[in-house]
């Protein structure tokens, strides 16, 4: 997973603000999902790392974390914020 080429982002303490080259500011991603974005943005995303991180941030089981990640990634892909590599 990598951010799409037309997406840039600003890291803040409370989350991440995304910008797209065509629309300007797209919106903000607050925590806990900002943690998932950081893994993707920094190129360190793996399913194992993401599951561990989200299960801790959301205080949920690993199975629940996997489902949450799948749903989130699907939304971000649909919005062309990220793409699979």
């Amino acid at each position: 997973m990598r951010p799409s080429h037309h997406v840039s982002w600003l890291v803040e303490k409370q989350g991440v603000t995304l910008f797209t080259s065509d629309k300007g500011m797209w919106g903000s991603i607050p925590y806990p999902h900002a943690g998932l974005w950081a893994l993707i943005a920094n190129g360190s995303y793996t399913k194992v790392l993401a599951t561990e991180l989200m299960s801790i941030l959301m205080t949920i089981s690993k199975e629940e974390a996997e489902r949450e990640i799948e749903d989130t990634l699907e939304t971000w892909i649909k919005n062309e914020l990220i793409h699979e590599t």
């Binding site: 989350g15 806990p32 893994l39 790392l49």
Partner: protein
């Protein structure tokens, strides 16, 4: 002359020999002045008898030196910051390592334990609007446990945003990590301390991999990359007998090669391995002169030179986080009052363990033990006579001035005394005196060895008065 020793305010005012002149210093309010011998005598006369007819300038100076401090000695209310040690393991084998890297336990901290501790501290801080939740990552080499560090930072960010707190992250690292980690550090960490001991020959002699190969190239590249991020960057150089004469060159090299904010020089500590590698601690006079001279070079590049115990910050009772209520979370979940290994303390008969963090129960902190820690270091007989008593505050409580240590200054004391005095002179804009201080080894040596700096004993010590 009347008896002076009963005057408590004189006890905390110091008089230092600087060549043929004297520097008065009150660490209680960080006031200093350069005067001649007659002025010191007049100050004492007025201090003992405020009806005495001394010039107004003397009276004014006395009142400045003896006024009630504006700042107070730090209290023990709440942790200044959390120190988290994700692992004691290290990916380097520095020839002077004082942390037992080669035999370190490879345990990695379960980030859930750190999250429970963050919850606990955030809950306490939430009552103070705008409070800062500070976390310092230490090691071993914390970046070996990068996922652990990342998880803790994201969790703390999340908790802070919900509770209206401001998070602040620091990391002390050897800089020997994959450059893929740079964006994370640059974006999420506020203050980064990287150890680098000079140019390639100096650094690679000291700071090596397990196979003996050097680490300079990778670390220097990482520093350059990090310099492009909005992170406060500190370079920490450990100075040895080999490099002490090159401190100016090291400062120049760093300033020309890297974008950074702080340059920290530290004296190498002698270990069982250092002498076999041909290393010993630097001469304290040369080390102090190196720092004071490097400050000018660094200032031209907007870089601040620091040396922990010699900072003109006071009055304080400790120059490290120990004794400020700081909690240190170890990889096994134990909470200690110091980042040093527990054994270093227990050897001195002191237990630094102040609690633990359970995966379900969360933190169990023995507050009474934590509160008692400063008491172990309250009385430091060696420091009583030293003008750095309330700025250095004894340096490392375990390595430099442990309970029962000798009364005589050691080389770290000597260096701290010289750097502190040099900085006080600089603040007074006594350029000529500062230059002559640095250029005359006998003057430096005399100050470094001065056995008793107290104004209260100056009058009764004829050997001092005759200088």
């Amino acid at each position: 002359m009347k008896e002076l020793v009963h005057r408590l305010d004189l006890e905390d005012i110091y008089v230092l020999p600087i060549g043929g002149r004297w520097m008065l210093f009150s660490p209680r309010n960080m006031t200093s002045a350069i005067v001649n011998r007659a002025a010191v005598e007049a100050i004492i006369e007025y201090a003992v008898d405020d009806k005495s007819t001394v010039p107004k300038t003397i009276k004014d100076l006395w009142h400045k030196l003896s006024r009630v401090p504006i700042t107070t000695i730090p209290s023990q209310q709440g942790p200044e910051k959390l120190v988290i040690i994700p692992t004691r393991e290290c990916n380097m084998r520095c020839v002077y390592c004082d942390f037992g890297a080669s035999s370190a336990n490879a345990t990695i901290l379960d980030p859930r334990l750190a999250c429970r501790l963050v919850d606990h501290v955030a809950e306490k801080l939430a009552a103070t609007p705008g409070a800062i939740l500070g976390i310092h990552f230490f090691g071993g080499e914390p970046m070996i446990a990068q996922p652990c560090v990342e998880t803790i930072i994201h969790y703390a960010n999340m908790v802070c945003s919900r509770k209206g707190l401001t998070p602040w992250y620091e990391i002390t690292t050897n800089g020997y990590f994959n450059h893929n980690a740079i964006p994370f550090i640059g974006d999420y960490v506020d203050y980064v301390v990287i150890s680098i001991d000079g140019d390639k020959p100096f650094h690679d002699f000291n700071r090596q991999r397990g196979d003996g190969s050097g680490t300079y190239a990778i670390i220097a590249e990482n520093i350059k990359r990090l310099g492009r991020f909005p992170v406060k960057l500190s370079l920490r150089a450990c100075i040895t007998n080999r490099s002490v004469n090159a401190m100016l060159a090291i400062a120049s090299h760093f300033c020309s090669e890297f974008e950074f904010d702080v340059l920290c020089f530290e004296m190498m500590a002698e270990t069982e391995f250092t002498s076999t590698n041909g290393l010993c601690p630097p001469d304290p006079n040369l080390f102090a002169a190196g720092i004071l001279q490097a400050e000018s070079i660094a200032a031209d590049h907007g870089v601040q030179v620091i040396n922990g115990p010699s900072e003109l910050y006071g009055p304080r009772t400790t120059s490290c986080p120990v004794g400020l209520g700081t909690l240190m979370l170890n990889p096994d979940g134990i909470l200690t009052a110091c980042y040093l290994e527990v054994e270093r303390w227990t050897r001195l008969g002191i237990d630094p363990v102040v609690g633990y963090v359970g995966p379900v129960s969360g933190p169990k902190i023995e507050q009474q033990k934590l509160d008692a820690i400063p008491g172990f270091f309250k009385q430091k007989p060696r420091c009583v006579r030293c003008f750095c008593r309330y700025t250095c505050a004894g340096g490392c409580h375990i390595n430099q001035t442990p309970p029962g240590c000798s009364l005589e200054y050691n080389d770290r004391c000597r260096a701290t005394r010289l750097i502190t005095a040099g900085r006080l002179l600089r603040n007074l804009k006594e350029t000529a005196t500062e230059v002559s201080f640095l250029e005359q080894p006998s003057v430096m040596k005399y100050l470094a060895e001065n056995a008793d700096d107290r104004l209260s004993t100056w009058a009764s010590d004829s050997t001092q008065r005759e200088i």
